[in-house]
C-alpha cells in the first residue's frame, strides 16, 4: 500500500526538521522544497530597510543590474540550469540584527536540486545568514553554488547546518569576496551521515585589512565520504584569516579537510588548524593544512593533529564525579566546540544544543 504525502504535510515535516536544526525560517526567511519556494516570510523591517530578499529567478528579472554587477563573478554556471536559490541584497549602512534564514530541502527520491545563491552585503552593513540543508528522502542530490560579496567595512556571518540522510550526495561551492576592512565569519556543522560530500569554500581577500574566520565542525558517521576543501586568498595587505576544522571520525567514515591559506600580498597573517578525533577504528580522517606564500612579509602558521580519546582524560573527569560515558561525552563536546564565541548571540543556544545532542553531553 503506498502512502501519498500532501504538499502541506511535506512542508510541515520540513519546517519541523528545519526548526529542530535551529533554522527558524518562520521567523524570517524561506524554505525551498526541491525546486519550489514553499515558504517565505520577509519581515516588514527588512522591507523598510530596503533589503531585497527574493528567489534568484525573481532577482534576475527584477534586479538584473545587481545580479549582473555582483553575480557569477567567481562562480561559473548557467543560471538556466539552476532550479532555485536565494538572492539577498543588504543596502549600504544597514545592520540587520535578526538572522535571515534559508532552508533547502530534498523532498523527492531521485531529485537533483541545483541551487545558486547570491548574497550582497553592501558597504558598512552587517547581516547574519543562517542556511540549513536537509533531506526528507534517502536518495537525492543537492548541488549548490553560492557567491557572497562583502563590501567595505561590512560584516557577514554565515551559519550553515547540514542534516542529510545516508544515501544523499552533495556538492557545494561557496565563494566569498571581501572588500577593504570587511569581515566574514563562517560556522559550519554537519551532524549526520550521507553518501558523499564535496564542499569547496574559497574566500578572496580583495580589500586591505579584511578578515575571515571559518570554523568547520564535521561528524563523519556510518560510511560517509566527506571532503572539505577550503582556501583563503590573502590578496590585500593587512588581511588575515583563520581556518579551523574539528572532525569526529565515527563508523566507517572518511573525512578529509584540506585547508589552505595563500599569501599573495605582504603584511598578511593566516592560521590553519585541522584536528581530528577518532572514535572508531574503522574511520579515517585526513587533516591537511596547506600554507602557500611567495611574499616574505607574511605570517602563516598551522597546527594539525589526529588522535583518540586518552584514558587519562577520561579518568580526570571521572575523578571529578562524571561517569565514564559522561566523561567521554564531555570530551567530545569540548572537542567539537570551536568558534562558539564568534557565533552571533542569537545562534549560540542553537549551536550549543546541537553540540550537546551530537555528543550526548546533555547533563
Amino acid at each position: 500500500m503506498s502512502t501519498t504525502i500532501s504538499m502541506a504535510e511535506l512542508l510541515k515535516k520540513a519546517l519541523d526538521k528545519a526548526s529542530s536544526m535551529g533554522v527558524e525560517v518562520t521567523r524570517q526567511g524561506s524554505l525551498i522544497l526541491n525546486e519550489q519556494t514553499a515558504f517565505r516570510l520577509v519581515s516588514k523591517l527588512l522591507e523598510e530597510l530596503g533589503v531585497i530578499y527574493l528567489s534568484i529567478k525573481e532577482a534576475v528579472k527584477e534586479y538584473p543590474d545587481l545580479v549582473e554587477k555582483y553575480g557569477l563573478k567567481k562562480v561559473k554556471i548557467d543560471l538556466r540550469e539552476v532550479n532555485n536559490g536565494v538572492f539577498i541584497y543588504v543596502p549600504k549602512n544597514t545592520r540587520l540584527i535578526d538572522p535571515v534564514y534559508n532552508c533547502f530541502v530534498l523532498a523527492s527520491k531521485g531529485f537533483v536540486q541545483k541551487v545558486y545563491n547570491l548574497v550582497i552585503v553592501d558597504d558598512g552593513s552587517e547581516v547574519v545568514g543562517v542556511t540549513g540543508c536537509l533531506s526528507l528522502v534517502h536518495e537525492a542530490i543537492h548541488s549548490s553554488h553560492e557567491e557572497a560579496y562583502v563590501g567595505e567595512e561590512s560584516k557577514y556571518y554565515k551559519i550553515m547546518v547540514h542534516n542529510w540522510l545516508p544515501k544523499v550526495v552533495v556538492s557545494a561551492i561557496k565563494r566569498v569576496t571581501l572588500m577593504s576592512e570587511a569581515s566574514y565569519y563562517d560556522y559550519y556543522i554537519n551532524s549526520t551521515s550521507l553518501n558523499r560530500m564535496s564542499f569547496i569554500t574559497d574566500v578572496f581577500h580583495e580589500g586591505g585589512r579584511s578578515s575571515s574566520r571559518i570554523d568547520q565542525v564535521v561528524i563523519g558517521s556510518e560510511k560517509s565520504k566527506l571532503q572539505y576543501i577550503t582556501t583563503t586568498y590573502l590578496s590585500a595587505p593587512g588581511s588575515n584569516t583563520e581556518i579551523i576544522s574539528r572532525v569526529l571520525g565515527m563508523g566507517e567514515s572518511y573525512v578529509e579537510t584540506r585547508s589552505s591559506v595563500v599569501a599573495i600580498k605582504p603584511g598578511v597573517r593566516g592560521h590553519v588548524e585541522c584536528r581530528g578525533l577518532l572514535i572508531s577504528d574503522k574511520a579515517t580522517i585526513a587533516a591537511i593544512p596547506i600554507l602557500k606564500s611567495g611574499v616574505s612579509d607574511s605570517t602563516l602558521t598551522h597546527e594539525a593533529s589526529i588522535g583518540k580519546i586518552k584514558i587519562d582524560e577520561v579518568e580526570y573527569l571521572m575523578a571529578r564525579g562524571f561517569s565514564e560515558d559522561e566523561a567521554v561525552s564531555l570530551i567530545i563536546r569540548g572537542f567539537l566546540e570551536t568558534g562558539l564565541d564568534k557565533v552571533p548571540e542569537k545562534m549560540k543556544p542553537v549551536i550549543r544544543a546541537t553540540l550537546d545532542k551530537l555528543s550526548g553531553a546533555k547533563m
Partner: protein, 242 residues
C-alpha cells in the same frame, strides 16, 4: 580528631607493576596531613588510588572512608561522596574552564561559591579558555584548587599544590587550604619540597614515602624538620611505620 580516611596496608599496581606497597595512613576531619617523599616514590599513585582511578588498582589492603570500605567503588561515586583530587599534571582538554565550573557547581550545589572562588583565585581571564591548554604552572594549580573547592569535598587530596607556582600564588593556595580545614574538610597534601607547608596554619600528621613504602610517620612539623635537616636519604635507614 574524628577519622575520615584510613588506608590499611594498601598495595597499588599500575599496568601490573607494583608502585605502592603495604601503605597505611590516616587523615581526620579538619586535619591537614602531609605525605612527603622524593620524586617517583609513589605519592601521586597513592592519591590516585584513593580517588579510585581505574588504572591505579588496589591489589591488597583497604581504603576506608567515612567508616565505609570504598576500595572497589568507582571514582565518580567517590567524588560524589566527597573525595576530590587536585591533580599535579592534569591532562589538557578541549573543554572550557567556565563550562566545567558550571557543570561541577550544579552537580555539587556550589553555584553560590563560584563568583568568590573565581575572583579570589584570579581565574577570570581563564574562564573562556580550554582546560590547561597553554596554561602556566600557577594557573593550573589555581584552577585545580578551584575545581576541588567547587566539589565541596569532605576530603581534599592535593597533589603537589606548590610545584611550579610563584610565591603569591602559593600563599593564595595555602589560604584556601587553611580555610578548607577550618570548614572541617580533611586535607592530604602531597609535596616533595614542603615549600607550601610554611604557610599552613595547623599541620596534622606527616608521612614519608620512599620507593612505594611509607617509611616514617610523625607529626608533620617533625617530618618536615627531619627532611630539611637530612633530606630523604636518611629515611632509607629508618624502619617503616607499617
Amino acid at each position: 580528631m574524628a577519622e575520615l580516611l584510613r588506608i590499611e596496608g594498601a598495595s597499588v599496581s599500575v599496568d601490573n607493576a607494583a608502585i605502592v606497597r603495604d601503605a597505611s595512613l590516616e587523615v581526620g576531619r579538619g586535619e591537614i596531613a602531609v605525605l612527603m617523599g622524593p620524586n617517583g616514590s609513589g605519592k601521586s599513585t597513592l592519591l590516585k588510588a584513593i580517588a579510585g582511578l581505574p588504572e591505579y588498582r588496589v591489589v591488597s589492603g583497604k581504603i576506608i572512608y567515612c567508616g565505609n570500605d570504598i576500595t572497589q567503588l568507582e571514582p565518580w561515586n567517590r567524588a560524589r561522596m566527597g573525595i576530590a583530587l587536585a591533580f599535579q599534571n592534569p591532562p589538557k582538554l578541549y573543554l572550557k574552564v567556565g563550562d566545567l565550573i558550571d557543570r561541577l557547581s550544579k552537580i555539587y550545589g556550589s553555584t553560590d561559591l563560584v563568583n568568590d572562588v573565581v575572583k579570589e583565585l584570579g581565574l577570570s581571564q581563564l574562564i573562556n579558555r580550554d582546560l590547561y591548554i597553554g596554561f602556566s604552572g600557577g594557573e593550573i594549580k589555581r584552577v585545580e584548587l578551584a575545581l576541588t573547592i567547587l566539589m565541596k569535598p569532605k576530603l581534599a587530596l592535593l597533589d603537589e599544590p606548590d610545584s611550579g607556582v610563584d610565591v603569591d600564588s602559593i600563599k593564595r593556595i595555602a589560604m584556601y587550604i587553611n580555610r578548607l580545614a577550618e570548614e572541617n574538610v580533611g586535607v592530604l597534601i602531597v609535596t616533595h619540597t614542603g615549600y607550601i607547608l610554611r604557610y599552613i596554619e595547623n599541620l596534622g600528621r606527616g608521612y614519608v614515602m620512599i620507593n612505594g613504602r611509607i617509611v616514617y610517620g610523625a607529626p608533620s612539623y617533625e617530618v618536615v624538620k627531619k627532611i630539611m635537616v637530612s633530606g630523604y636519604g636518611e629515611f632509607n635507614k629508618v624502619g617503616g611505620v607499617n
